[in-house]
Assembly symmetry: C2
Homo-oligomer: 265 residues x 2
DNA sequence: GAGATGATTCCACAGAGCGGAACTACTAAG
DNA sequence: CTTAGTAGTTCCGCTCTGTGGAATCATCTC
C-alpha cells in the first residue's frame, strides 16, 4: 500500500478517539453527522459508539450522542497524578485573590502546556482558557518559565515537534530569539508575556521546581492595559515568587513521605 | 467460536481503555507490569501504549508510563457538556460555606451518580469522594433524589443494570423498600442518607429539575454524629432547597438563550 | 399511507491487530 | 572485561476482527 502514513499506530484506537474528539467539538450529535465528518461508514461509526457507550465514555440520549461523564474521572486522575499538582491549588486561589486577576497553574506534557488550575479574581477577564486547555509553550509566560528550566535538549525536541507558530502580534517565532528570552527568564527567575499569546493579554509566570526540574509554573494573566508598570513587573512577580517558594517547600517535603497519598480505586 | 461473550464490542478499543484503566489504578507503571496484569503480550501492550502516547493520552517518563494530562481536557468537556452543570458550582460553594460540611453536585449518567462539583466546608470530612467519582444511585441521598424524579421505567432499568449492592449497614437492598423510599422523597422533596453509603456518614440532597426531569442533585454530607436532629432534617434541607430553587431558575432561563454558550475548540 | 431519513443488522473480504520469537539496550555481577 | 539477566522493541506470518456496502428496521413528515 502507498499510504504508509505517520507510523504504525493502532488504527482502531485512533478512530475511537477521533469519534470522541468529534463529540467534544460538536456537543450532542447524531450518528450520521459524526460518520460524515470523519468519513467513516455508518456501520463502523455505530459499532464504535456502541463500544464507547458500553464503556460509559459516550452517553446517548435518543439519537444524540455526547461525551460521557466517566471522562470526569480520568480527567481527575490526570489532574492528580502527581501530588504536587493538588498542592498548587490553594496558591492559585490566593494569587487570584491578591491580584484580582486570573491565576493559573500550568504543567508540561508532551511538549504542551496544560492548565491544571484556573482561578479567576474579582476583576478577571472572562473564561476561554479553562482547566485542561492546551497551549504552546513558546508563546505564554508559564510556558517560557517551564522551558527556561528544562534541559536544552528537551527544549529543542519540543520546538522541533511543535514549531513556533505565531498566535499574536508579539509571539516569538525565531528560535534564537526564544533562546535569548529563556536566558533572560532564567536570570530574572520570572517570565513575561506581552501580548504574545493573545492580543490585549499580558501574563507573567514563575517556575515551580523540584529537584532542579520545573514541575510546572504559577502564572497570572490579565488585560495588557491593567497589567503594566511596577505592578506587572515587580509586585505581581514577587507575590508569585513567594507562592512558588512556599509551594516548592511543600512539594519537596511531601515527595519524601508520599506513600500515603496513593489513592486506590 | 464458543466465546460469544457480552455483545460484539470492538475488542481493540476495549483493550486500549483497559490499559488506561490499569494506569489509572497503578499510577506510573512499566510496560511489563501492565502486560502481566491484563494478560496481554508485551508486544501488543507496547503498540497500544505507543498509540496512546502519540495521542497524548499516555505520558512516558523513561520506562514508566502514566495517564496523560490530555485527559484533563476531556474531563473538562464532560464536566461542562451541559451549561447547567457549571451554574451549579457557585451554589455548591455557598452550601459548603453555610453548612461547613462537604457540599456536592451530582448528576446521573449510565445509571450511576457522578460527582461533578465537590466543595469542602471549614469542618468537612477529608477527601475520598472527589470530582469524577462514581457511585450507585440507590445508596446515596443525591442518587435517591435523582431516582425519585426519574420515570419508573428508567429506575427499573437502572436497578436491573446495577442491582442494589450493600455498601454500609443501612443500605437499602430491597427493591420495594426503595420504591417506598423514593415515594417519600418525592413527597418531602428531600432525600436523606443515614449511613447507607458509608458507615458513619450521613447525607441529604435535593433534586435540581429542568422541564420536570432531574438534571442532577445538590447534596450535603458529613459525619453522622454532627448531621442530626433539626439541623440535619430541616435547616440544611431548607438551605439546599433555596439553592436548588435559584439554580433551577437560572437553568431554565439559560436553556432559552443557550446558543452563546457553545465553546469552539 | 407513502416516502424520506436515519439507525441498526447482516455479511463477505482483506487488512489489521495479535502473540511468539528474535533482537537490542541496559545493569549487575563475577 | 565478560557474561548473565532483565526489560523494552522490532519483526513476521497467521488468523481473526474490524471494515464498508447492502439490506432491514424504526421514525417522522407530508
Amino acid at each position: 500500500m502507498a499510504d504508509r502514513n505517520d507510523n504504525d499506530a493502532i488504527q482502531t484506537t485512533n478512530t475511537s478517539f477521533e469519534i470522541i474528539h468529534a463529540l467534544q467539538e460538536l456537543g450532542p450529535a447524531r450518528l450520521s453527522t459524526i460518520a460524515d465528518r470523519l468519513g467513516l461508514a455508518e456501520s463502523t461509526t455505530h459499532r464504535h459508539l456502541q463500544t464507547l457507550s458500553d464503556l460509559r465514555y459516550v452517553s446517548r440520549d435518543g439519537d444524540r450522542y455526547q461525551i460521557g461523564l466517566r471522562f470526569a474521572r480520568l480527567g481527575r486522575a490526570a489532574q492528580t497524578r502527581d501530588p504536587a499538582y493538588e498542592m498548587a491549588k490553594p496558591h492559585v486561589q490566593e494569587l487570584a485573590e491578591e491580584t484580582g486577576e486570573r491565576a493559573q497553574f500550568v504543567v508540561e506534557d508532551h511538549g504542551l502546556g496544560i492548565y491544571l488550575h484556573v482561578e479567576t479574581g474579582s476583576r478577571a477577564v472572562r473564561v476561554g482558557f479553562g482547566v485542561g486547555r492546551q497551549i504552546h509553550l513558546h508563546s505564554s509566560s508559564a510556558g517560557k518559565a517551564i522551558l527556561a528550566h528544562s534541559p536544552r535538549e528537551r527544549v529543542d525536541d519540543i520546538l522541533d515537534q511543535w514549531g513556533l507558530p505565531a498566535h499574536a502580534t508579539n509571539t516569538i517565532t525565531d528560535r534564537d530569539a526564544l533562546y535569548d528570552e529563556l536566558e533572560t527568564v532564567r536570570e530574572r527567575g520570572v517570565a513575561f508575556n506581552r501580548e504574545e499569546h493573545v492580543d490585549g493579554l499580558n501574563g507573567t509566570a514563575v517556575p515551580v521546581k523540584r529537584d532542579g526540574r520545573a514541575v510546572g509554573a504559577l502564572a497570572v494573566a490579565g488585560p495588557s492595559h491593567r497589567l503594566t508598570g511596577e505592578w506587572f513587573e515587580d509586585e505581581v512577580p514577587s507575590m508569585m515568587l513567594a507562592a512558588a517558594n512556599e509551594l516548592e517547600l511543600n512539594v519537596t517535603y511531601a515527595s519524601d513521605a508520599s506513600s500515603t497519598d496513593h489513592i486506590v480505586e
